[in-house]
């Protein structure tokens, strides 16, 4: 009974975004923050490459990491994600799970897969889409369906690389995001730097 009580308070944050948009960098910032607050963090990371890189860095930094490699959890590894989530629950009993799908994942497919999840319910499930302000204009010309789906499926949009992008690129990214998200759920960030408290509260509303 007491064990189940602890499981019930588990939170899930899914960070979606195209390859190279800054998912891993943001994830590491949030994991560090949660760890500082003495929360137990578990990370599920999915990479399309056959040898994981992000998982090795996370392990170097001392996080509990489960990796899903050599494919994408929205399609070729779809069957693995539910089982891995359940194993993470049992093995770590974390307060907080961070899920990073591959940068090629279709978030709509992922949400369909998660709908089949029959484990202990999450206390909260937040989907944050991170977009690359430097490349967004070009990506919208080449792979707009994936980028649009990523924004449509999210609860909030983070416009990353605000320090690298020109003001024109930032404005353009903001206006594109505005088509899919209300303005109070769009934030400009530099994932390499410290994330502002207001944005942290959106991502981790349970954190003190």
């Amino acid at each position: 009974m007491s064990l189940n009580f602890f499981w019930v308070i588990m939170h899930l944050l899914i960070i979606t975004g195209f390859l190279g948009s800054g998912k891993t960098t943001l994830l590491l910032r949030l994991a560090e923050l949660a760890q500082k607050q003495e929360k137990k963090v578990a990370i599920l990371v999915n990479e399309v490459g056959e040898i994981g890189i992000d998982n090795q860095i996370m392990k170097q930094l001392g996080f509990n990491v489960s990796e899903l490699l050599g494919g994408c959890i929205c399609c070729s590894l779809a069957g693995d994600v539910i089982g891995t989530l359940e194993r993470v629950q049992k093995k770590y009993q974390p307060d907080f799970v961070l899920l990073e799908p591959s940068g090629a994942a279709d978030p709509r497919n992922l949400m369909n897969i998660l709908a089949a999840y029959k484990g202990i319910p999450f206390k909260s499930l937040i989907k944050a889409a991170i977009i690359d302000s430097v490349r967004l204009d070009m990506l919208m010309k080449v792979i707009s369906p994936l980028i649009i789906t990523t924004m449509e499926q999210a609860d909030l949009i983070l416009i990353n690389k605000a320090d690298e992008a020109s003001s024109k690129e930032l404005d353009k990214a903001y206006n594109i995001a505005l088509k899919y998200m209300p303005s109070n759920k769009i934030f400009k960030i530099c994932a390499h730097d410290e994330i502002e408290p207001d944005i942290i509260r959106e991502l981790l509303p349970w954190i003190v």
Binding site: L19, E50, I51, I53, A104
Partner: protein, 137 residues
């Protein structure tokens, strides 16, 4: 531009200092190598860099993460190979849309054999190298 296929290519490389390489830096070589690979990929017709990322480690436990998302900006670096190890292992995950994995392998081999890139550090591929047919986008 038509829709682009993604064939992720993963490779393990070993970097070691050349006998005559008095002034060598693994950090600089890895950064230069990765940025140059991005430039070569973008010279391919209808290509788009998704993410080229690498993770280098040495036997002393130091590590370097390198990340490139386009050919115009310098690589993002995290960590550092410290000291003067005999060799460093580097895993590269190369996710470039529109460039088949076989072609990426050819570009890599060209870079490895380019004396300008590897003037003080030799680079060799170490098995197993990965190639996965994969289309998601």
């Amino acid at each position: 531009m038509d829709s682009l296929n993604l064939e992720p290519y993963t490779v393990k490389l070993r970097l070691s200092r050349q006998e005559n390489g008095s002034k060598y830096s693994y950090n600089k070589t890895i950064t230069f190598f990765t940025e140059h690979l991005a430039q070569l990929c973008m010279l391919e017709k209808d290509s788009l860099i998704g993410h080229i990322k690498g993770f280098a480690t040495d036997s002393e436990g130091s590590w370097l993460r390198v990340s490139v998302t386009d050919e115009k900006h310098p690589a993002h670096l995290e960590g550092r190979i410290s000291g003067k190890p005999e060799y460093v292992n580097l895993i590269l995950n190369i996710n470039v849309l529109g460039v088949p994995a076989d072609r990426i392998k050819t570009l890599l081999n060209d870079l490895i054999n380019n004396p300008v890139i590897c003037n003080s550090v030799s680079i060799v591929m170490i098995p197993p190298e990965g190639k996965k047919e994969f289309v998601c986008i």
